[in-house]
Structures are given as structure tokens and as C-alpha cells.
């Protein structure tokens, strides 16, 4: 507990610290003495917002990395060396992201994990990549990172396009015939709805696309669209609260087909606004520990150490640090170029959603979007959408 307090101090002060993953919880000898056999150290950087509105999620991210480091050390470290973490506050702005990344790069870390806010992560990625340091971006959305085409940067989140694929594939599982895709006026919603519509159309299914204003969606108009199209599958790509009201309005209008919402609706606001009408609704969302049975044991270990349930950021950072360690092991070296070479070809490495592989453009070859379903007023896992 004392060590966790130290991290909190770091979070408040936004100062740089090097924290031994092993010592973050308790001594090695307390947990089997793994560290006693380790010779030398290997330091990985962790970049997260440790102040401001996102500090709580940032701390979750750091804790996930701490747990991974502790477990790696318990298992003999990496290349026989003790894993240490250098944690930096990357904030959520481009400037803070760049500064945090630059500080980590100056410490000659073997690799960096983390990155939560998109703007900060992109700036940090550019700074880290300039040094050739491998960076597994664990929480920030991948699109802009992929577009940047940085050779040493690998996002561990999916892209908007991959969320569209998840939606289309689930429609396939449900044998959809007449699809209506509804968006609010936000650019993100519009983009996702466009991608889904194009793919559904390519498969020859009947598809209608309708957009409403972002702030005041005309629910009656959207319901009319669904009714007129005789849809059997509706996909909502807009915000959570209007999504909840939309499914409620649809059910009241007698719509009996499938309703699915995008990850924007992965929120209590959706459930609250929908009420009973939320039941059985589907969601395309990024996999988190509360949805994944495979993460249950890990979540228990996390809770045992940190006295709280882990969030998604913790799970992602945990996987990212393990993946980075695996790349170092495969490279048998901490030279950045060698670690980067090994990241796209991790052997037998799995996350809680399955095998981790990267495509040539560094996007996840097999993304982490899953299908959730509302059951008993809460989100449950309907499908991992994976066959591995």
C-alpha cells in the first residue's frame, strides 16, 4: 500500500519517477524471491495522463503496467534482468504528450507503453519514433497513429474502420437482410456510419443511412426511417443518451428487429435512457475486463494488489508491457531496432482477446472489438468475434 501511495504522489506532482514494478507492490522475497536471481535492470517507459480530468484512467493504466512488471519479475524478469518502469505524465495535450515522451526517450528506455488521449499519444508517438524507440500505444484510438506511419509505433486499439467491420460481421451472424444505419451529426458518428453502410452495400444487402443533428436528434424521423425501410437490423453510431432514447422509441413504435449501437453507447447513459428497451440490444465495443471471462483471474490479481477493479486501460497496459517484454526476449537484445523488428512477429503471444498480431501498417490484424449485449440491465459479452 505504501508503494501505491508513492505512485499517487507522482500522479499529483506530475514528476518523473522510476518505479520498480517489483517493488511497486511488495518485495521480491515476499513473492518467491524472483528478483534475487535477476542481474541488472531493464527499464520500460510508461506514458499516461497523471493529472487533470483523465488522471484516474491514467492511474489505471500505470497500475496495469505495474502489475505486468511485477509478474514478469516473478517469472524471472526479461533476459534475466529486473524490469523497472519509468513513468511520465503525458497529459492529454500534444505539448504534454511530446514532453513526456521526450523525457522517457532521454532515459534510454527499452520501449514505451501507454498513451491514452489521442492528441497526446500522436504527439508522443512522433517524439518517441524520432528516437526509434518502440512504442506500444495501449489506449488511444489507432486511426491517426496508423496514418502517421511511424515505424516504431504500434497501436493496440482498433480503428474506426475495424469497428465498422465488427458491426458488419455481427450483422452477418444475425442474418440481417434490411439494414438501417443511423448517425448523429458528429464527424465520428458520420464516419462510422458511412463505413458500415458501404460495407453492407458491398454485400448486396438493402441498406439505408440516415443522419440526425448531434445535439437534438429527431427521433421520430429516425423511427420513421426504420419503419419505412422495414428494417430487421438497426445500427446507431451516435452518442449514448440519444441512442438509449432511440431504441426506446423504436420499441414503442413496434420495431422488433435487432438494435445495435456503437462503442459511443458503452455507457450507463445509454442504459438509463433506454430503460427496459435496452434489453437485448447489442453494442460494438472494445473489449474490457468486465466483459472478458478470460480476464477474470487477472482482474482478481489486480484487485488483490490495488484494492479496486481494473479498468480497460489497466488491461491494455498490462498486455502492452508483456508484449514489449516478449519482443525484447525474442530479440535477445534491448536495441530499439531489434525490438521493433520483433513486435510484428511475436510468437505465441496472446492477450485477453486472443493472438496479438500487427498488419503491415501496424494496425491490429485482429482487433479487440467485441459484441456486448444488454442482459438484465447490464452489458454482457455476446461474442468476441474471434476464432483464435
Amino acid at each position: 500500500m505504501r508503494r501505491r501511495g508513492a505512485v499517487r504522489v507522482l500522479a499529483l506532482g506530475a514528476a518523473a519517477l522510476v518505479v520498480s514494478g517489483l517493488l511497486a507492490a511488495c518485495s521480491a522475497s515476499d513473492e518467491g524471491g524472483g528478483a534475487a536471481r535477476l542481474r541488472g535492470e531493464i527499464t520500460f517507459g510508461v506514458l499516461a495522463p497523471l493529472s487533470g480530468d483523465m488522471a484516474e484512467r491514467g492511474q489505471d493504466l500505470v497500475d496495469g503496467a505495474q502489475l505486468a512488471a511485477a509478474e514478469l519479475n516473478d517469472q524471472g524478469g526479461v533476459l534475466g534482468r529486473q524490469v523497472k518502469l519509468a513513468v511520465e505524465d503525458g497529459g492529454c495535450a500534444p505539448a504534454t504528450g511530446e514532453q513526456g515522451a521526450t523525457r522517457l526517450a532521454a532515459k534510454s528506455v527499452a520501449g514505451v507503453v501507454g498513451g491514452l488521449c489521442e492528441n497526446a499519444a500522436v504527439a508522443a508517438a512522433n517524439a518517441v519514433a524520432a528516437e526509434g524507440t518502440p512504442f506500444l500505444v495501449s489506449s488511444a484510438r489507432a486511426d491517426r497513429l496508423i496514418e502517421a506511419g511511424l515505424p516504431s509505433v504500434f497501436p493496440m486499439e482498433g480503428t474506426v474502420y475495424q469497428e465498422a467491420l465488427a458491426a458488419v460481421h455481427w450483422m452477418g451472424y444475425r442474418s440481417a437482410q434490411r439494414v438501417v444505419v443511423l448517425a448523429d451529426g458528429s464527424p465520428a458518428s458520420q464516419r462510422l456510419s458511412g463505413l458500415v453502410t458501404d460495407r453492407v452495400k458491398a454485400d448486396g444487402l438493402t441498406v439505408s443511412r440516415q443522419s440526425a443533428e448531434a445535439n437534438r436528434p429527431d427521433l421520430a424521423g429516425l423511427v420513421s426511417t426504420v419503419t419505412a425501410a422495414k428494417a430487421d437490423f438497426v445500427y446507431w453510431t451516435g452518442a449514448a443518451e440519444p441512442g438509449g432514447r432511440l431504441v426506446s422509441a423504436l420499441r414503442q413504435a413496434g420495431y422488433t428487429g435487432y438494435f445495435m449501437a456503437s462503442s459511443e453507447s458503452d455507457s450507463p447513459e445509454f442504459l438509463q435512457a433506454a430503460g427496459a428497451a435496452a434489453e437485448d440490444a447489442f453494442l460494438t465495443t472494445a473489449a474490457g475486463p468486465r466483459l472478458l471471462p478470460a480476464a477474470a483471474d487477472w482482474a482478481a490479481r489486480f484487485k488483490d494488489r490495488f484494492r479496486r477493479d481494473p479498468g480497460r486501460d489497466a488491461m491494455q497496459a498490462y498486455d502492452a508491457l508483456r508484449a514489449m517484454a516478449q519482443a525484447v526476449r525474442q530479440a535477445a537484445d534491448t536495441a530499439p531496432s531489434k525490438v521493433v523488428d520483433n513486435l510484428p512477429r511475436l510468437e505465441g503471444f496472446t492477450t485477453f482477446t486472443g493472438t496479438l498480431r500487427f498488419a503491415a501498417d501496424h494496425s491490429l490484424r485482429y482487433d479487440n472489438y467485441v459484441i456486448a449485449q444488454v442482459r438484465g440491465g447490464t452489458f454482457t459479452l455476446a461474442s468476441k468475434l474471434r476464432t483464435d
Partner: protein, 492 residues
């Protein structure tokens, strides 16, 4: 039937050797082209050394041997892609040795331009450099992609421990094929492009242990993979063509798309066709609906009665591959006939046959309602084997195997019985009109023909032992010649 000496072939081979030597010389100074190969060589680009085995022992009727090329090994299958920018085709072959690519600038004398060896296809954990083995090889001629389907028995694996899946190979530059990815799929004996290669149907093998398979299944059915985006292939968790053997889910061995776009799944328990695009009446669900690759609409099909008195429970109904003739043949209706390979590895006199069946009576979902108690069977129109026919062997492996159809001439591989040309103008009386068989001899690699392809006036034979033989059929081409040949997918 006219039995020809192989003089023409020998002369042609001499020419080929000259060409190969030229190509080999050019290879040493070769730099991968950005926009295309130079035009100052015989094949539009450099070639690499190849082996040519002259079949001096061959027995042939109405067939001229032209050339033989070896590449990396023997082959189970070939395919072809036309390159507008070069103005000619390239031929792709896969087998235990991996992938080989030949320029067909001179179609009679393929020039080996590149290869991906089995060693280069190894995955972590593999114990052998042996690819298995890509029967019915499929390609995307538009995106210039080759799909190498990996059977779990490859690379030292077994049906229950091996890794199945597909290697996606970019061949935009045929001189420099690049493996884009290996994508694991819980199926992997053959694969076929569906819907203009936006999806891949992967099937087989016959076993009860492939990881990811329902333990109640007797073989691996169709697994559907979305390959719109080859960087992010996605395999659906729900399989297609279930309950195919009188209600039992069993081994699908091959998928072959006809000229109307219907995908025919062949295997244990018969041949069943599916619409994979468009709006069609579903005779099983009794409603009109949109067909997709992952949720196809049944069309017609089934299996035929067993014809082999020494058959087995498995081979009696093992419809290895099929071709749906969309045309009218003889007195049979347009689209009525199904040509089927019934593979049966047994003594030559009883080995698997070529069969012709009528689809009449199968358009209302009968093949999907068949049960052991109330089995549905297609009418068998005829069946044929080389046993006792001119040019045949009496020992060895003799079963029917892969074929293609041009007009009314079926060109088919029969393992040790070589290549057979069968006139099916009268579907009730298939007649041999040509053959080419290569017994082993001094300096001659004996033949084991896997698959035979009509292609632009020539015939290319994928041979498990010899590599690729290039032949010319000298008989009369019965029926209207096909502009595009169809096997797993139609020529594009």
C-alpha cells in the same frame, strides 16, 4: 485414336532449354523492376533455372507433349493470372515444395521467374519444410493475390495438432511474390475465392480433431473468411454447408464456382450448390432472401448412389470435386448436369470414377433434408474410369481427380493413369478421346497427375511427381469451346 510419337515435344523442349539458359543468364544482373520487367529478354523479364524432364516413356493418344517444368516440387494444383501491363499470363503452382511462378509469355514453354519455398512458409513450431499442399489453388486475378491453403498435416503436423489456414501472397510483381500474412483458419485442405474474391471459402480436411471444430462433426465443413481487406482477414465462427451427409456435418473437400456464380461444395455426402450473391428463393427456409458468402442460399444438389462394389462407407459418397455445366448438353436441360469426381484410393480396377448426375428433383431443398432413414439421391447418368481403356496402367494409384471442362471435353487427372480427355457430348456414354501417361523409366520421372487445366488452347497438368507438363490436345474439341474455363473460380 491416333497415338503420337513425342518428337514434337522433344523439339519443343530443346527450344525451351535455350530460353531457360537465356533467362538464367539474365537473372544474375536482375534488379526488381518498379514498373515492370525489361522487354529485352525472351519472357519480358529474367528467369531462373528450372528442370525439364523429357517423358520418353510416355504413352499418349491424341496428345502432344510440349514441355515439362519443375519449379520447386511436384504440384497438386495450378492457377493463372493475366497481367495487362505485361500482356501475358503467369502460371502459379503449389505443392509440397511451396509456390512456383512461371511467365507464360511463351505459353508453350513456361519460364520460372520466382518461388516461395516451403522453408519460407514455416511457422513457429513447425518441424518440417513440407507444405501440404494446396489442392484446387485459388487466386484473385484483379488484386493479384495467390492463396496458399495450408492443411494441418503440413510442416510435420497432424490433423489434430497441425495449424491450418491460408497464406495470402501478393504477386503484383510476379518476379517478387510477397507473403502478406498467414491467417489461421480452422479449415485448410482447399480454398476457393467467392464473390469476386471478397471472401474465401476454406474447407476440409477429413478428420475429427482440427482445433476449432465441433466434436460432433465428422469432417471440416466450409469456413468463411472475409478478405475484402487482406490486412485484416476475418473468419466467421459459424460454418457453412452443415449437415451435408444425410444430415450429418462432414468433410467438404472442394468448392467450385460455376458460370452463373453458384458455389458448389463437394465432399463426403455429395455436391450442393449455393447462391452467394443476389436475391433468391431459399428452398430450405421457403422464402426469398439475399444470399451472402457467409449466409448463402441453397440451390440444388445431393449425392448419387454408390457404384463401386468394393466401396467403403467413406469413399462411396466422397464427391471430391464437381463442375456444374450451365449449358444444355445433348438431350439434357440447360444447367441440369453435374460432373463429379468420386475419389477412391483403391485397386486400379475399382478406383474412383468420373460421374455425371442430373440435378432434376433437387431444386426444392431435397439435398438438405436427406437423412439415413430417407436418403435423397441424384439420378446417376453415367460413370467412367480409364480401367481397361487404351493407354491405361493396371497397377498404381488410379483414382479420378481434378478436372476442367472445355466445350464437351473433360480433361482430368487420374494419378498414375495420367491425363484423360473424355468426350461427354453424350452424357450417358462418356468416351475417351485422348490420354497422356508417363510411366517411370531411365531418367524419366513417372507421372501422378493431380489436376488438368485447359488454358488458352493448351493443357497444363499439375503432377505430384513431375511438376507441370504442357500438352496439346490434338483431338477434335466437341461442343462450343469455352472462352473462360471454370474450376474453383472461372477465368477472369
Amino acid at each position: 485414336m491416333r497415338t503420337k510419337p513425342l518428337v514434337a515435344g522433344a523439339v519443343a523442349l530443346a527450344t525451351a532449354v535455350v530460353v531457360q539458359l537465356y533467362g538464367a543468364g539474365a537473372a544474375s544482373a536482375y534488379e526488381p523492376p518498379d514498373s515492370g520487367p525489361s522487354d529485352n529478354s525472351a519472357h519480358g523479364g529474367p528467369a531462373i533455372d528450372d528442370v525439364h524432364n523429357v517423358p520418353t516413356t510416355a504413352v499418349a493418344g491424341n496428345v502432344t507433349f510440349i514441355d515439362n517444368v519443375r519449379g520447386v516440387s511436384g504440384y497438386s494444383a495450378l492457377n493463372f493470372i493475366n497481367y495487362d501491363k505485361y500482356g501475358y499470363d503467369f502460371m502459379f503452382a503449389n505443392g509440397t515444395g511451396g509456390l512456383a511462378v512461371w511467365s507464360l509469355k511463351d505459353p508453350e514453354h513456361p519460364a520460372l521467374v520466382s518461388k516461395i519455398t516451403a522453408a519460407e512458409l514455416r511457422l513457429p513450431g513447425d518441424t518440417q519444410d513440407r507444405f501440404w499442399e494446396g489442392e484446387n489453388m485459388t487466386v484473385d486475378p484483379k488484386r493479384k493475390l495467390v492463396f496458399l491453403i495450408r492443411d494441418p498435416r503440413g510442416f510435420g503436423g497432424t490433423v489434430s495438432t497441425g495449424q491450418s489456414g491460408v497464406y495470402i501472397v501478393d504477386v503484383k510483381n510476379p518476379w517478387k511474390p510477397e507473403i502478406v500474412t498467414f491467417h489461421p483458419i480452422p479449415a485448410g485442405h482447399t480454398a476457393t475465392c467467392i464473390n469476386d474474391c471478397k471472401y474465401l471459402w476454406s474447407v476440409g480436411p477429413a478428420n475429427t480433431g482440427t482445433p476449432g471444430q465441433d466434436p460432433s462433426w465428422k469432417g471440416v465443413p466450409v469456413r468463411v473468411t472475409d478478405i475484402h481487406d487482406i490486412k485484416h482477414p476475418y473468419t466467421f465462427d459459424q460454418a457453412v454447408d452443415l449437415g451435408r451427409h444425410d444430415g450429418v456435418t462432414d468433410y467438404v473437400h472442394s468448392v467450385d464456382v460455376d458460370k452463373d456464380g453458384i458455389a458448389w461444395a463437394s465432399g463426403e455426402g455429395g455436391v450442393r450448390g449455393y447462391w452467394t450473391e443476389g436475391n433468391h428463393y431459399d428452398p430450405v427456409q421457403k422464402r426469398n432472401r439475399v444470399a451472402t458468402a457467409y449466409d448463402p442460399v441453397p440451390y440444388a444438389g445431393g449425392t448419387v448412389v454408390a457404384t463401386n462394389p468394393e466401396g467403403t462407407a467413406f469413399f462411396d459418397f466422397f464427391d471430391h470435386n464437381a463442375y456444374h455445366n450451365t449449358e444444355k448438353v445433348g438431350a439434357f436441360d440447360k444447367g441440369e448436369l453435374l460432373y463429379i469426381t468420386n475419389e477412391n484410393i483403391t485397386t486400379c480396377s475399382r478406383a474412383g470414377e468420373f460421374k455425371i448426375a442430373s440435378l432434376k428433383g433437387s431444386y426444392d431443398g431435397e439435398g438438405w433434408r436427406s437423412t439415413p432413414e430417407d436418403p435423397f439421391r441424384l439420378e446417376l447418368i453415367s460413370h467412367w474410369s480409364p480401367w481397361g481403356k487404351e493407354g491405361s496402367a493396371t497397377t498404381g494409384s488410379c483414382s479420378a481427380h481434378w478436372f476442367t471442362v472445355n466445350g464437351n471435353i473433360v480433361a482430368q487427372g487420374w494419378y498414375g493413369q495420367g491425363t484423360r480427355f473424355i468426350d461427354v457430348s453424350d452424357p450417358r456414354n462418356p468416351t475417351q478421346v485422348g490420354y497422356f501417361r508417363v510411366p517411370s523409366g531411365q531418367g524419366v520421372t513417372g507421372g501422378s497427375a493431380s489436376a488438368v487445366y485447359w488454358h488458352n488452347g493448351l493443357v497444363y497438368v499439375a503432377d505430384y511427381s513431375r511438376g507441370v507438363d504442357v500438352l496439346r490436345f490434338d483431338g477434335k474439341l466437341a461442343g462450343a469451346p469455352d472462352e473462360k474455363i471454370c474450376w474453383n473460380s472461372c477465368d477472369k
